[in-house]
Amino acid sequence: MAETGPIEDSLFEAPPMAEQERMVEAILFASAEPVTVSDLNARMPHGADAAEALEHLKKRYEGRGVSVVKVGDAWAIRTAPDLGFLMQKETVETRKLSRAAIETLAIVAYHQPATRAEIEEIRGVSVSRGTIDQLLELEWIRFGRRRMTPGRPVTYVVTQEFLDHFGLENARDLPGLKELRAAGLLDNRPPPGTLAPDETGDDEQAEMFEDES
């Protein structure tokens, strides 16, 4: 374990906050992917408080050409969206998503964790294998916990990459989520005459969104 100079010093005293802010700045600039607070702390000298340094850094970059953004429990630096027009060179041509894929993505995002059957129930049509595969490949959705109902179906949830791609701090910030929930449109309402739904569905969803915080 080659504990180098600065690190050894820090065993006794954390560097000043201004210095910690510089460190967080350097690490975030160096990474294209969001970096979690625990990763930051692990890379910074002992005793450093990345969370606090991040708050300072975020303020510092307000209104600048790049900004410090929160993605789930991680942080990243991204260019300001209003300057996107300067980046034609960097623009990534994404494969155009089918309507089925976009709707499936929205259903997973708003109803997560969502089973395939639930997606099909909402869209009124079967979900093709390719649609799910495409979203998995984009790393916008991933497998969640299996539902504790007969057949233990797999569930899908959205990923950090999804949040990052759409500039969301967490899944609770999805546009219109509150209104949809208030209107009961995210309820798992079974067709009349069928058995009661698995009650866990809603609970799990609530948990899911809490987890994201």
């Binding site: 996107g84 960097e90 709707e103 259903i107 049509v125 759409f166 546009p175 449109l185």
Partner: protein, 260 residues
């Protein structure tokens, strides 16, 4: 819908339906089609007339049939269900029937349509957000984090003690595995038993077959007994002898197979 505008709206709906039929492939299932049809009602989805919608859908299906357009099975299933729903909505409820009422079924269909519409709107809002790689961008020259790998070797006190014990007791173990003097091999026993077995017409204890000099020292006796036993099993398998044991842990007895 028996009001004055009815005819006009019906005509408009019919025209819309004609257009719909032409690109029936464009629909993502019956619910999608229903949602599109419901737009012709020009009302809030929450106030939609499900009965009217059912009629629109059924006439759509009829038209498609007359135009000999092949419809996927799920469209027809939906048509059958809507026909059933329509009858439920029109006929007085049967007190005997415990199933859901027409109103309940209609309310659920309305909920499904509203929910699908809501998800579509949400999807549109989602896609309209600033997107990574289109509106905002990541670091163009990410600096790789070089990994400095440190290997830490570990050993426990137990490893140490067992290691030492292993070395120091190597000699103690040698006789068991190395000393051929005290071992009777299966081959040796088999050869010997083959010679003796011809004389065993009556049941005889297996233990009596131990060769001289192998029944005293426990180590030698164990080895000889084990090999003798294995040899008798081999001989029994070949049909040369029979084996019996009258009770658990009773002496094992063998005899030559009569006439064998």
């Amino acid at each position: 819908m028996p009001d004055g505008d009815h005819d006009f709206e019906a005509v408009e709906a019919r025209l819309a339906a004609e257009a719909l039929i032409v690109d029936v492939d464009g629909f993502e299932g019956p619910l999608d089609l229903l949602l599109t049809l419901s737009r012709t009602q020009k009302v809030d989805l929450r106030k939609i007339s499900i009965l009217g919608l059912a009629e629109q859908y059924l006439s759509f299906i009829d038209r498609a049939k007359t135009l000999r357009i092949e419809l996927a099975a799920d469209y027809l299933v939906m048509a059958a269900w809507l026909a059933f729903l329509k009858s439920r909505l029109l006929l007085p409820p049967d007190p005997e029937d415990e199933g859901p009422t027409g109103e309940e079924l209609a309310a659920h269909l309305a909920f499904q349509l509203e929910r699908l519409q809501a998800m579509r709107d949400a999807a549109a809002k989602l896609m309209a957000r600033d997107q990574k790689g289109r509106d905002f961008f990541v670091r163009g020259i990410p600096e790789d984090v070089t990994r400095v790998r440190t290997i830490r070797y570990t050993a426990t006190l137990l490893d140490l003690m067992q290691g030492y014990a292993r070395i120091r007791t190597k000699d103690e173990f040698r006789p068991f595995t190395m000393d051929r003097e005290h071992v009777m091999t299966l081959e040796q026993a088999l050869e010997r038993m083959r010679g003796l077995i011809g004389y065993a017409g009556d049941w005889t204890d297996l233990s009596s077959y131990l060769p001289d000099g192998w029944d005293g020292d426990p180590k030698r006796r164990r080895s000889a007994t084990a090999s003798n036993f294995a040899a008798t099993l081999e001989l029994a398998k070949n049909g040369a002898i029979e084996i019996r044991q009258t009770a658990l842990f009773a002496p094992i007895q063998i005899r030559a197979t009569p006439g064998g």
